[in-house]
Amino acid sequence: MKRELKRYQAIGLVAMAAIALPRAMSADYQLHLAAIIGINTIIVLGLNLLMGYAGQVSLGQAAFVGIGAYASAILTVKVGLSPWLGMAAAVALGALTAAIVGVPLLKLRGHYLAMGTLGFGMIVHIVLVQWDKLTDGTVGIMGIPPLSAAGVALESAPSMYYLVALCVIVSTALASNIIDSRVGRAMRAVHGSEVAAETSGVDTARYKLQVFILSGALAGLAGSLYAHHVTYVHPDTFGFAYSIQLVVMAVLGGMTSIWGAVVGAAAVTIISEELRQYQEYSTILFGAVLMAVMIFMPGGIWRGAGDLYRRLRRMRPGRARAGV
């Protein structure tokens, strides 16, 4: 039991930091930003499992976020369901869509899969714009009710922040459990050598689909959180640019690192907020950052920082000896 609890040590520490964070933040704006970072982290976590661990590229992840956000928006605003039911439906719909499109899409490999997922993302965006009876088209859906717990609406910035933080922590724990398990090894084996995985008895198509569904469900959850947090959804939020931003987050943080998801999501979310007034240049900046990371820190910031720290320690021999 003790050993089992030890697995969650790091997550526990981060949880405590997350709980303490609002005290350090004065403005609601900062808490709002922290919530957005958390929402992005959930998506990037799914993307890391899919791309970093299982080696399957997705350039259409924003579509699943959009599906989740619109499921919540439509079910609460137009059907009048409770936001929690909307959220459950958002997760289920994200997973279901991934299951349906995953079967044909995951037969593609490498660049073709990237193109296929990109196409899927574009189709979803077009549907969100054109199916205006359901989605109100380019007007977007306004007045999405906030989630509520025990009769209290989670309207204030800290309460929504705590809910997002809880979701991040739970999904991080589950994701790191999966990675270090039979299913996680099977997924990583698919990435390492598909033919060797198959001849070792791993049904590669099945695990690719599973991880795709999981990433779809996480994106659906994130979309729903977004909808109830911001209370407004618009098709353009979930377009190609956002898909690319999500990939940048994953790469920047480090695709084979769970904590990298938080780092990448935070870095990109903050940078794009700070550069809001220079929006047209931010794409150029992200492109440059992506190239720099690929060249100098292929393992992402999280790992790159660790390597740098170890290198610096080694450069000071006195320290190194003391360390051993």
Binding site: N177, R182, A186, R188, H191, E198, S200, T204
Partner: protein, 257 residues
């Protein structure tokens, strides 16, 4: 029972465009045998392995595993019927640890799904423990208990990587083990140790079909040899008989075998 066929190939054909890589080849491997498949480069040996393990589909003929028709099955199904293999070009999971590589080999020995893995159910943890134990046993069997189980697979030497592939294949508890050029790139001392290892594997009740260019090794360990040339079987029999076969000698263009 003594004559139980683990693997049978009947009139197996595989074409790549205009090239017939495997041309009506038929042979069988009996339970408990070490059988070798030899032939000059491009004879179709690896293609036979890829056909048996379902990596390629065959164009004609039939492959039977323990008496049951196995052609057309996907690789993972064939693996679950008890066939494990190694690769000529090492196909390790470079991004995973030594122990994890072998644990993937034992994938079929447990059945925890996504949900029980995410929640680390009691049953899943027990299975993980057994899997790790089995993987350690296999590493020990091939003599890789000297490397750190947590080391990345890509950090091993070439010879060790070959042994790691053997350990991964053994972790599946196969009835038939296919070794594709296990001695390629090994020193003569390493290759001699490999020979001993293959014999020990046979003693564990695993039937072995081996492709290799190291004639010394092949002639020493195998009970029977099948010779392929340009996709056609030109000889089959005991190592001695095959070595004297004029067709075999001609195929190797006078090379001494």
């Amino acid at each position: 029972m003594a004559d139980q066929q683990v693997l049978e190939l009947n009139e197996v054909v595989k074409r790549f465009g205009g090239l017939t890589a495997v041309d009506h080849v038929g042979f069988s491997v009996r339970k408990g045998q070490i059988k070798a498949l030899i032939g000059p480069n491009g004879a179709g040996k690896t293609t036979v392995f890829n056909l048996v393990t379902g990596v390629y589909g065959l164009d004609d003929g039939e492959i039977r595993l323990a008496g049951a028709r196995a052609n057309g099955l996907p690789s993972h199904r064939i693996a679950s019927l008890g066939v494990a293999r190694t690769f000529q070009q090492v196909e390790l999971f470079a991004n995973m640890s030594v122990l994890e590589n072998v644990m993937v080999g034992a994938h079929r020995q447990s059945n925890s799904g996504l949900v029980s893995c995410a929640l680390r159910s009691r049953r899943m943890r027990a299975q993980e423990g057994r899997l790790a134990e089995r993987a350690r046993d296999c590493l020990k069997l091939v003599g890789l208990d000297v490397v750190a189980p947590g080391a990345e697979a890509r950090s091993l030497s070439f010879g060790q990587q070959r042994l790691l592939e053997v350990a991964r294949a053994l972790a599946a508890d196969p009835m038939l083990l296919l070794l594709d050029e296990p001695a390629a790139g090994l020193s003569s001392a390493e290759s001699a140790r490999l020979g001993e290892l293959v014999e020990r594997i046979r003693e564990l009740g695993v039937t072995v079909l081996v492709v290799d260019h190291d004639m010394d090794l092949v002639m020493r360990i195998s009970d029977e040899v099948v010779v392929l040339d340009h996709g056609v079987k030109i000889a089959e029999g005991s190592p001695r008989a095959v070595q004297r076969d004029p067709k075999v000698i001609a195929a190797y263009l006078g090379e001494e075998i």
